[in-house]
């Protein structure tokens, strides 16, 4: 029997675990979870959730790949082409993931089940829609207990949303800093006084923080849940839903959000560029997954997805990614929007730094698109071209990259803000730097501009 590998993030829940075998991901359901799993599958709950697109479907295996005696069964969930982390999601993505969690909770109660955890790490995005990936999140509901994952929901979903709502800032970085959720006491301390005027936010954040503090100080620990009727639980869920609905991020026009609207006005430039990019992508053999880095609002990512590719669309600008997500919700394209600073991509985090993989090790793209990006790295972030080339080499075997010369209007804006010279930032300097890691397969000027598109193959 070939050896299987435990997934490094799947160790908390005794109900089962995820493992990898021959490049595929499976989930083992343990015998301790027998009745809960039977309830999920036989009550119609699973079918309901899968039909609504809320739960990732799976197929059951009829063998036991791990050979462990505690295995009840093994399931193979549908494959997702990319695993994103909540710290890489835009505001609306986190908000939709929060709402989905509450909808699943409400639906599961109809089948006498309840969610035993509420973490955004259990949610992924598939064709622009959130989906629960943890089939073992369900526990028996007896009609008289409070929600065990209430605090987790408040800290992992509600607190970041409320903070972003009241500050008007994109605070995705906070999710990276607090992988277990922002403590309600921390959130309450950071929120402005006016947030108390919202009944739901007052209850779930401010009151929650006060009561938790008192309870932690109390000598007598409350060990067993008190009776809590179904109506009360449903009211609580509605209230959490209202709190999430209350949170909205103001649409500000950011530096790059009108990039294409402006670019499109230049005669035929965008049309010609789209055609050229399409042709150059078609020249690369066996491309299934593309990473569009510096995707802006995803014009090229969506074009690639419409041509049957799976696309990771990453940009540092949270507003652009949020807008791309809103578009994807309507179009249901296989595009994964992602907020990512390429100069500091998401690191590996969690226990032993192995639980959550870094962006570079998750990005298994066959081709990287880097359009109108290199000047931001080289001049905006002072990354030498040879180091930029090394980054792309780490990410993908093929690279479609646009060189934006120093004379370009966009580059001039970046150069004007700097006191230093960039003598190597020339066409020849670019080719020299990238030749160390790549061979130049194609070199085409972008019509109506002084830019050049290169198709590079990793050496």
């Amino acid at each position: 029997m070939s050896p299987f590998q435990y997934h490094p993030a799947s160790y908390r829940d005794p109900a089962g675990f995820v493992f990898e075998l021959d490049g595929k991901l499976y989930r083992q359901v343990n015998t301790v979870y027998r009745t809960q799993y039977a309830q999920l599958m036989q009550s119609g709950c699973y079918d309901q959730l899968v039909n609504k697109g809320w739960l990732l479907p799976h197929t059951a295996l009829n063998n036991n790949p791990t050979g462990q005696p505690e295995a009840l069964c093994t399931i193979e969930p549908d494959r997702l082409f990319f695993i994103s982390h909540p710290g890489e999601w835009s505001f609306d993505m986190l908000r939709d993931a929060a709402l989905l969690t509450l909808w699943i909770l409400r639906e599961s109660l109809k089948h006498e089940l309840i969610l035993k955890d509420a973490t955004p790490f259990n949610i992924q995005f598939r064709n622009g829609k959130p989906v629960l990936i943890d089939t073992l999140s369900f526990e028996h509901y007896h009609g008289n207990e409070p929600w065990v994952a209430y605090r987790q929901f408040c800290e992992q979903f509600l607190a970041p949303l409320v903070l972003m709502h009241y500050t008007g800032q994109s605070l995705q970085q906070l999710l990276l800093a607090y992988p277990e959720g922002i403590p309600v006491a921390t959130a309450a301390a950071l929120l402005p006084r006016r947030s108390r005027w919202s009944l739901h936010i007052n209850l779930h954040i401010h009151l929650h923080a006060r009561v938790s503090k008192r309870a932690a100080q109390a000598t007598e620990q409350q060990t067993s849940p008190r009776a809590f009727s179904r109506t009360k639980l449903l009211n609580l869920i509605s209230s959490l839903e209202s709190a999430v609905h209350h949170c909205r991020l103001k649409e500000d026009s950011t530096a790059w959000s009108d990039y294409y609207t402006e670019a499109a006005t230049r005669d035929g430039y965008l049309v010609a560029k789209k055609e050229l990019v399409g042709k150059m992508i078609a020249a690369v053999p066996n491309v299934h997954t593309i990473a569009d880095l510096g995707a802006n609002e995803g014009l090229f990512a969506r074009m690639a997805a419409e041509n049957g590719k799976q696309v990771i669309a990453a940009d540092q600008d949270a507003a652009c990614i949020n807008r791309l997500y809103s578009e994807l919700k309507k179009e249901a394209l296989p595009v994964q929007p992602l907020i990512l600073d390429l100069a500091a991509p998401t690191p590996a985090t969690g226990f032993r730094n192995k639980e959550r993989a870094s962006f570079i090790s998750r990005c298994n793209a066959d081709l990287v698109l880097a359009l109108a990006l290199v000047h931001h790295l080289a001049i905006g972030r002072n990354i030498p071209l040879a180091m930029a080339a090394a980054f792309f080499r780490d990410v993908s075997p093929w690279l479609l990259i646009e060189f934006v010369p120093a004379e370009d209007e966009k580059t001039k804006v970046l150069l004007a803000a700097k006191q230093r010279a960039y003598p190597d930032y020339t066409e020849a300097g670019f080719e020299r730097a990238f030749s160390a890691d790549f061979s130049i397969e194609q070199k085409n000027p972008v019509p109506h501009s002084n830019r050049i598109l290169y198709l590079l193959k990793r050496k």
């Binding site: 009745t35 209430y150 938790s212």
Partner: protein, 54 residues
């Protein structure tokens, strides 16, 4: 016998907050229902956009 597999810590005071919150919400719902009842005399009730898609 049914085994419970609740591996997360509900958090100190989390159950108590839910009890208090539910009591407050119960009162709020009571008044909201009265308000809606009165409103429904004058307006056609609109579908709540908060509901999930089915």
């Amino acid at each position: 016998m049914v085994q419970h597999l609740l591996y997360i810590d509900p958090g100190s005071g989390s159950y108590l907050v839910q009890i208090i919150a539910a009591a407050v919400l119960g009162v709020a719902m009571f008044f909201k229902n009265i308000k809606l009842y009165i409103k429904s005399f004058f307006h056609r009730t609109k579908k709540d956009k908060d509901t999930p898609p089915s």
